[in-house]
C-alpha cells in the first residue's frame, strides 16, 4: 500500500454469472484527490464503487481504504470513513428529516450528532428548500434525493466520497451547483462516476474504464 493513498484498488475482478463486469481494474486515490471515473454503460463503474464500500464482493483483487485492506472485519469500520451516494438514493420510508437523522442513531455516528444543527446551511448550499425536510423521501424527485444524500455526506464528515452519477437527475443550474460544491470540498477525496463532461472539467483527474480486456487507464 502506498502510504500516500486513501484508496488503493488492485486487480479488481467481478463477474455476475456469465458477465464479466470488472476485470483486473486498478487505481489509486491520494488524500483530498478528486477523480472522475468515466466509460460506456455496463463497463462496471457503479460496481466499482459498490466494491469499495463493500456492497459488492469481488471474486479477485483487493480494495485498501485508509491503509486497511477490506475484509469481513475491516469493512464495518471502513464504511464509517466513506460516503456513498447512489444514482437513485433510497432512504426507505419516512420524511427527509428522518432520513438525515436516522444515521446518527447508529453507534458509529453518534458522536457527530451535533452536526444536525447544520442541516439548514448544507440544504441551502445544495439549493434545497427548507420545507422539503417534512416531505416523504418517496415523494422527492431523483435530483432532490441525490442532493439530500450529499447533505448527509457532509453531515457525517466522511473523508472519502463515492458518487455514482449524482447529477443525472438535475437541471443544468443545479448540476453546476453540485459539481462546484464537490470540487471545492476541502480535504475530501472524491471518486465520482459520471458521463458528464462538466465533471471531467471540474475535477483534476479522469480515469476512463473500457470494456475490452485488459482494462485501460487513461489519465487526462
Amino acid at each position: 500500500m502506498n502510504s500516500g493513498s486513501v484508496l488503493e484498488i488492485e486487480g479488481l475482478s467481478l463477474r455476475y454469472g456469465e458477465r464479466q463486469v470488472l476485470n483486473g481494474f486498478s487505481m489509486r486515490l491520494a488524500p483530498g484527490e478528486k477523480v472522475t471515473v468515466c466509460g460506456p454503460s455496463g463497463v462496471g463503474k457503479s460496481t466499482l464503487l459498490r466494491c469499495v464500500i463493500g456492497l459488492a464482493v469481488p471474486q479477485a483483487g483487493t480494495v485498501t481504504v485508509f491503509g486497511q485492506r477490506l475484509d469481513a472485519v475491516s469493512v464495518w469500520t471502513a464504511r464509517r470513513r466513506m460516503a456513498y451516494v447512489a444514482q437513485e438514493p433510497d432512504f426507505g420510508p419516512g420524511t427527509a428529516r428522518a432520513a438525515l437523522e436516522r444515521p446518527f442513531s447508529f453507534r458509529a455516528n453518534a458522536s457527530l450528532r451535533d452536526n444536525l444543527t447544520r442541516i439548514p446551511e448544507w440544504m441551502a448550499r445544495f439549493r434545497l428548500p427548507a420545507d422539503l425536510l417534512d416531505k416523504e423521501t418517496a415523494a422527492l424527485s431523483g435530483g432532490e434525493r441525490q442532493r439530500l444524500a450529499l447533505v448527509l455526506a457532509l453531515l457525517l464528515e466522511r473523508p472519502l466520497w463515492l458518487l455514482d452519477e449524482i447529477s443525472s437527475g438535475l437541471d443544468p443550474e443545479n448540476r453546476q451547483t453540485v459539481i462546484d460544491a464537490v470540487a471545492r470540498l476541502d480535504g475530501v477525496a472524491v471518486l465520482a462516476v459520471s458521463h458528464d463532461r462538466e465533471w471531467q472539467a471540474a475535477l483534476p483527474r479522469t480515469v476512463a474504464m473500457a470494456p475490452p480486456e485488459p482494462i485501460r487507464k487513461a489519465e487526462r
Binding site: 456513498y84 437513485e88 433510497d90 444515521p103
Partner: protein, 267 residues
C-alpha cells in the same frame, strides 16, 4: 369437570350429511373448489382419526417421555410447515427454527402447566398436549408471517438496506426496522384477538372447557391463561427465529444472501 358428552360414530357419520349443503352450493355455482373440498374433508377425517387413536394411547400411558416425544414431533412437523410456507432453504433454517419453536412453545407451556395450573405431574398428557398444541399452532402461524416479512422485506427494500450499511450501521442496526416490522406483522393477529375476544365469538379453548362440563368462570380463567401463553410464545418464537437465522442469512459484509430463498419454479 365431568367430561364432554361423547358422540357415537354413527351419529357423527350422520353429521356428514351437513356437507350436502356446501357441496350442492359448489356444484350449483360451479365454483372450482369441489374437488379440493372433498379431498380436504377426507384428509381431515383420516388425520384426526389417526391423531385421536394415537393420543388415546399417549393419554392412557401418561408417561412423561411419551408426552415430551409427542410435543417434540409436533414441533418438528411445524418446523417443516413453516419452511414450506416461507420458501426458505430447509438445510440452513431447519435447526435454528426448531429451537425457536421449541422455546416459544416450551416456555409458556411450562409456566401454564407449572405455576398456573400447579397439577402434579406437570407434564400430564391431558393438559400438556392440547395446551402445547394450541401454543405451537399459533407459533407456527406467527413464524411464517414473521420470517416471510423479515427476509422478503429486506430483499424488497434492499437498496435502502444497503444505504443503511453504507452509512455505517452495524448489521444489528440495519436489520432493526425489519425486525420491528416482522414482529408487528406476526403479533398483530394475536393482539387483535386479545382485544376483541369474547365480544365477537367464544374462543375455542373456552368452548372446549365449557363442553367438558366446567362453569364459565373456570373456562374464562383457562382462556385468559392460554391467551397470555400464546402471546408470550409467539413473541418469543418470532424474535428467536429471526435472531437464530440471521447469522446464516447474511454475507460477512452484511449483505443478504439471496440463496436462502427457494426459487419459485422448483417448488
Amino acid at each position: 369437570m365431568n367430561g364432554a358428552f361423547d358422540i357415537g360414530f354413527g351419529r357423527l357419520a350422520a353429521g356428514y350429511l351437513l356437507l350436502s349443503f356446501p357441496f350442492a352450493i359448489l356444484l350449483w355455482t360451479r365454483a372450482p373448489l369441489l374437488k379440493d373440498a372433498v379431498v380436504a374433508v377426507v384428509r381431515m377425517t383420516l388425520q384426526l382419526l389417526f391423531v385421536g387413536f394415537y393420543l388415546q394411547v399417549v393419554f392412557d400411558q401418561n408417561r412423561m417421555w411419551l408426552t415430551l416425544l409427542w410435543l417434540i414431533i409436533m414441533v418438528g412437523v411445524a418446523d417443516g410447515s413453516i419452511l414450506r410456507g416461507c420458501r426458505l432453504r430447509a438445510r440452513r433454517f431447519a435447526l435454528p427454527l426448531f429451537f425457536a419453536l421449541l422455546a416459544g412453545t416450551a416456555v409458556p407451556l411450562l409456566v401454564f402447566v407449572g405455576p398456573i395450573l400447579g397439577r402434579s405431574p406437570w407434564l400430564d398428557a391431558q393438559y400438556a398436549i392440547p395446551l402445547g398444541g394450541m401454543i405451537l399452532g399459533n407459533c407456527l402461524r406467527a413464524d411464517i408471517i414473521g420470517l416471510q416479512r423479515f427476509y422478503e422485506g429486506i430483499a424488497r427494500g434492499e437498496k435502502a438496506f444497503h444505504q443503511t450499511l453504507a452509512q455505517g450501521a452495524q448489521l444489528g442496526e440495519a436489520i432493526r426496522p425489519h425486525v420491528r416490522d416482522a414482529l408487528q406483522a406476526a403479533l398483530t393477529p394475536t393482539v387483535a384477538s386479545m382485544a376483541t375476544i369474547g365480544l365477537v365469538a367464544l374462543p375455542g379453548m373456552m368452548t372446549g372447557v365449557i363442553l367438558a362440563g366446567a362453569n364459565p368462570m373456570t373456562a374464562i380463567k383457562y382462556q385468559i391463561a392460554i391467551m397470555i401463553a400464546i402471546f408470550a410464545g409467539t413473541a418469543l418464537t418470532v424474535y428467536g427465529a429471526i435472531l437464530l437465522t440471521v447469522r446464516h442469512s447474511f454475507h460477512p459484509y452484511g449483505l443478504l444472501d439471496h440463496d436462502l430463498f427457494v426459487p419459485k419454479r422448483v417448488r
